[in-house]
Symmetry: C2
Subunit: 198 residues, 2 copies
DNA sequence: CCTGAAACGCCTCCGTT
DNA sequence: AACGGAGGCGTTTCAGG
């Protein structure tokens, strides 16, 4: 059983708004019992839809708040490794990557302290077009998408997952949700090939 | 009394990692009692350091997950109104603004659905340099800054706030934290002038 | 500003439907 | 899959240092 319904969407909406809201309060809101909400939340965490419960902090109020905004444009094929390299730096908090090769990073240090990392990356990506600026304002309005539909997406073929969905546990303990047994076989094979290569 | 010490920093660190962690667990971790943690968290919320408790969601798993990355470069003076205009749209979840006039937005709709909003904004900011792409990857590693120091910053003059700090309540119910009575008078005056202008 | 005790509320396991 | 009850935590209030 792998599905994702309106109840899940409502729970996510309420938790995005206030992640410390009690399960009982959520239960009242959506017309279910607290254990149901608890079970749903557990499932959403296990599936990886909820990556973590966290805070939105106003860093402009803190002296640790010097932050930098990095925007780079590279060849689309180079975007993923660049994004990974940026994300690996401990000062980098956020990385966004567009399909066209735009990579945006938000770091929790000032621009001069970032220089070391960016110097290395500039050499590794000589064709890249870089900009680095002190970050002066961030706004965040957490919500799910505004489009009507919702559901889970197959990580193999991209189709929407229905009641035929399969929840595959690959050997590292990671889980993947796929739409059918064909995609499940696909992903299992991929992981086995990866394991053999080691 | 307005201060921000190592205890606050530790509490924020632990909550960034898991915002549903119990106050008692945090208390054990930092060697204080649960009521102390509860009081500190209340204070951090009231001060606006904690803007909200929320979730990090993996949108790539949801069919609502089509997202767009917008990067605009405008005159620095135009960046703030542009950032506000973007943030006002309900599909826009994140807005980042650099001091040099770079504005980055992350929207929870695909690029074609964004067209209406961006068409209007392109007309309003004819000198802007725009790019819009489907967003294909986001990573987020929540943490406080990596720099050593911490503390609260005066919203008037930018100095670090010490035990002389003042917590001013301006008439709208909003609060500001400033470093001294001079800055407190400044901000009160500013708000009064604003009220008179209406 | 902190603590401990106590009261109250919330979460989760379990048995049932 | 979901519910109600029960036991055990978690949170908050309060008195006292």
């Amino acid at each position: 059983m792998v599905e994702f319904d309106d109840l899940d969407r409502q729970i996510l909406d309420l938790l995005l708004e206030d992640a410390r809201r009690s399960f009982r309060e959520i239960a009242d809101e959506i017309g279910r019992s607290a254990p149901t909400v608890s079970n749903r939340v557990d499932r959403l965490r296990e599936l990886g839809v909820i990556r973590r419960f966290t805070l939105d902090i106003d860093r402009s109020m803190l002296t640790t708040g010097e932050q930098s905004l990095v925007v780079a444009r590279v060849q689309p094929s180079a975007a993923e490794p660049l994004a990974d390299a940026l994300a690996d730096d401990e000062a980098v908090e956020h990385v966004l990557r567009g399909v066209g090769g735009t990579v945006v990073a938000k770091a929790t240090v000032d621009t001069s302290t970032l220089d070391g990392l960016l110097g290395d990356l500039s050499e590794a990506y000589p064709d890249a077009d870089w900009s680095v600026e002190p970050l002066v304002g961030t706004r965040w309005d957490p919500h799910l998408g505004v489009t009507g539909g919702f559901g889970l997406v197959c990580t193999v073929c991209g189709n929407t997952i229905t009641e035929d969905g399969v929840d595959v546990e690959v050997e590292s303990g990671n889980r993947h949700v796929v739409c059918c047994s064909t995609c499940a076989a696909d992903i299992t094979e991929q992981y086995e090939r990866l394991a053999d290569a080691e």
